[in-house]
């Protein structure tokens, strides 16, 4: 891995965190392309690694929000525990698909995310 690659990965990682803090998302929609394009991971490995990369980010973010008094902890725990079922199904499906199909699906997700973001600024959301 060249020094340039490492620097670019660090910068894009910082950028993913910046957007995570700004928009309150996990950062996965930026981690996955960074891991795939810059670090050369396959699509499935990039997606799996993205989940690992976001853990410290969301842990710090959740802690800050908890201290700020915005958190509904029991609701979060209920959703998080129920998500285990969905994760099992999603992981089974993801590992059964080819990297090419996963990449096209992910590109479709980006388009949906872009549309949702554009929609969200139609009117002041606060």
């Amino acid at each position: 891995m060249s020094a340039g690659t490492v620097v670019l990965a660090l910068v894009l990682g910082f950028g993913a965190g910046l957007l995570s803090g700004f928009f309150g998302v996990g950062g996965g929609i930026l981690f996955v392309p960074t891991l795939a394009f810059v670090l050369g991971l396959g699509q499935l490995d990039a997606q799996a690694t993205s989940l690992a990369a976001m853990i410290p980010v969301v842990a710090v973010g959740a802690w800050q929000q908890h201290r700020a008094g915005n958190m509904r902890l029991r609701v979060a725990i209920a959703i998080g525990l129920a998500s285990f079922l969905g994760v099992a199904a999603g992981a089974a499906l993801a590992t059964s698909l080819s990297d090419a199909v996963l990449r096209d699906l992910f590109a479709g997700l980006l388009v949906v995310a872009a549309a949702q973001l554009a929609w969200s600024v139609r009117e002041p959301s606060d």
């Binding site: 690694t49 690992a52 979060a76 959703i79 079922l85 999603g90 872009a114 949702q116 554009a118």
Partner: protein, 122 residues
């Protein structure tokens, strides 16, 4: 149903849907949790975002456990992008009130479309 007291069935449904998307796409699932908490549970955006972050933590831990058992997690790469992201996140929260969120959101949206096109043609 009074606002802010969502039923367990609704929360369970939100959780299963977000977990499925999370494991299929390698994202946190906040993209569905936040709007659904607003629409179905009557949460305001700030509370929905905060609550979503804590739910994502559990979802991501579950996904990483599944995928690392199948040897799909590159830990070195995860540290390389994840640690600077923590610093970026802290900075992002600080600049939230200084930059026009509308402009940045539209730029981010355009950027996502560009990445999508790059993925399609790859």
């Amino acid at each position: 149903m009074p606002p802010g007291r969502p039923s367990l069935w609704i929360l369970g449904g939100i959780g299963v849907a977000s977990g499925f998307l999370s494991a299929l796409f390698g994202v946190g699932g906040g993209i569905v949790v936040v709007p659904l908490l607003v629409l179905l549970a009557g949460f305001d955006a700030r509370v929905a975002t905060a609550t979503s972050l804590a739910a994502i933590l559990l979802t991501a831990l579950s996904g990483v456990t599944s995928f690392s058992l199948l040897d799909h997690v590159d830990w070195d790469a995860a540290v390389l992008v994840g640690l600077p992201a923590v610093a970026g996140s802290l900075a992002g929260v600080r600049i939230q009130h200084r930059i026009s969120s509308r402009t940045l959101t539209l730029l981010f949206s355009v950027f996502l479309i560009a990445v999508a096109v790059a993925l399609f043609v790859r």
